[in-house]
């Protein structure tokens, strides 16, 4: 069972549909009891960091996630959900994240060459790092995945499992123990995106 956390941010329809499509058991929930019982958790998110972090705090799910991470549960953040796994974000100010992966979230603006558009919107290829992460057990290096973002995670290379080139090496996915995240949307990345979700739902 994979619990998709519903905290009022973004559209969970595609994520839920994609897990159903690959035959993975999942539930969309904000119920702490259900989340605690699930062996895997997905933290989705679209929109602004501050608003999403506030909603997560308001529901008390931030503490629950930290506790679950401590208990060794598999947690996957997607897009803004991934950014919230880091310590802080500089999106319109400076905001605290969950701190489950060391590092911070910074603007693409100023970091990438000025002729590149922001947000990065579209398909970019994965440069999978080192010995392939479990998340990529079905994924070939160079696979294209779908990105929509204006901020990216800056962290020590030891936490980075894949990058994509957008003028600079942008963190495409990161991992700290059993906590991981993808900046791209696997649920919108065609059949190769589904393979990444499948790999996550098979973690145990």
């Amino acid at each position: 069972m994979t619990a998709i956390i519903d905290y009022g941010v973004g559209n969970l329809f595609s994520l839920k549909s994609s897990l159903a499509y690959i035959g993975a058991d999942c539930v969309v929930t904000s119920d702490p009891a259900v989340i605690k019982k699930a062996p895997r958790i997905i933290l989705p998110g679209v929109g602004a960091f501050e608003d999403a972090a506030a909603k997560l705090r308001a529901t008390g799910l931030d503490e629950l996630l930290k506790e679950e991470a401590k208990n060794g549960k598999y947690i996957m953040g997607i897009c803004l959900g991934m950014q919230m796994l880091f310590e802080k974000s500089y999106e319109f100010g400076c905001h605290k994240g969950l701190g489950l992966i060391p590092g911070e979230v910074v603007p693409l603006l100023g970091a990438v060459p000025s002729e590149l558009k922001i947000p990065q919107m579209g398909w970019n290829s994965l440069d999978i790092k080192g010995s392939k992460d479990d998340l990529y057990k079905y994924t070939e290096n160079g696979t294209h995945v779908y990105f929509v973002h204006s901020y990216y995670a800056k962290t020590d290379s030891k936490y980075i499992t894949a990058t994509s080139e957008y003028g600079i090496d942008v963190t495409a996915s990161a991992k700290n123990g059993r906590v991981m995240g993808t900046q791209y949307h696997p649920e919108k990345s065609g059949k190769h995106g589904l393979e990444i979700l499948k790999a996550f739902t098979e973690l145990k």
């Binding site: 595609s14 065609g190 059949k191």
Partner: protein, 252 residues
Amino acid sequence: MITKRIIPCLDVKNGRVVKGVNFMNLSDVSDPVQLAKYYSECGADELVFYDITASAEGRGLFTDVLTRTAENVFIPLTVGGAINEVSDFDRVLKCGADKVSVNSGAVRNPNLMYEAAKKYGSQCVVLSMDVKRVDGKYAVFVKGGREMTDLEAIEWAKRGQELGAGELVINSMDTDGVRGGFDTELLTKICDAVTIPVIASGGAGCAEDFVKLFNTCPTVDAGLAASIFHFGDVKINELKELLKQNNINVRI
């Protein structure tokens, strides 16, 4: 590096795809779900669904189709047509759309873009515009190109970006339907004026037109077309191979 996107556009009326679609391997060529799946498997990078239904009943059929598509096709879906209020964004996003394109509704009420961007994020708001040269100026048209407005296209594009649109679809009425290639002159001017992604629409007659588009306007992000894909004149997988041979970065 980020790839150039190829986007087929499906016009949907009362829950069925219109325009003479003819694919031998599909049992029901006007079923949007089957067509969407087919395009996704051929390598389409995104899909645009355009709702041309006039009735409330047709609107309901459209959202049913959208839901079924989003349950089966896992690439970005943009929805346009009859988007006039923030509640219309809500209606289609709930059914699995990722982006919503506004056209006449944004001309009537430009603040719609601001409100929607604030609520759903800029990445979700696409400003689509129909543009035609009138007296040496680029005029914006509404109501499916039937009605001219006072708006000038380049100014309107900049205004859209300021109000929160995250992407532009530029449909040139001068090249649309002529099949002589995209309007690279207009597209270059738009691209020079904004920093958000620009999707070119109107005029594609053959695969080479896409090569010319991306070579002439290297900052255009995507090419959109309808009939050449629906009629099978251009196959998306073959188009992408051709683009690749011409050193244009695409997702194969």
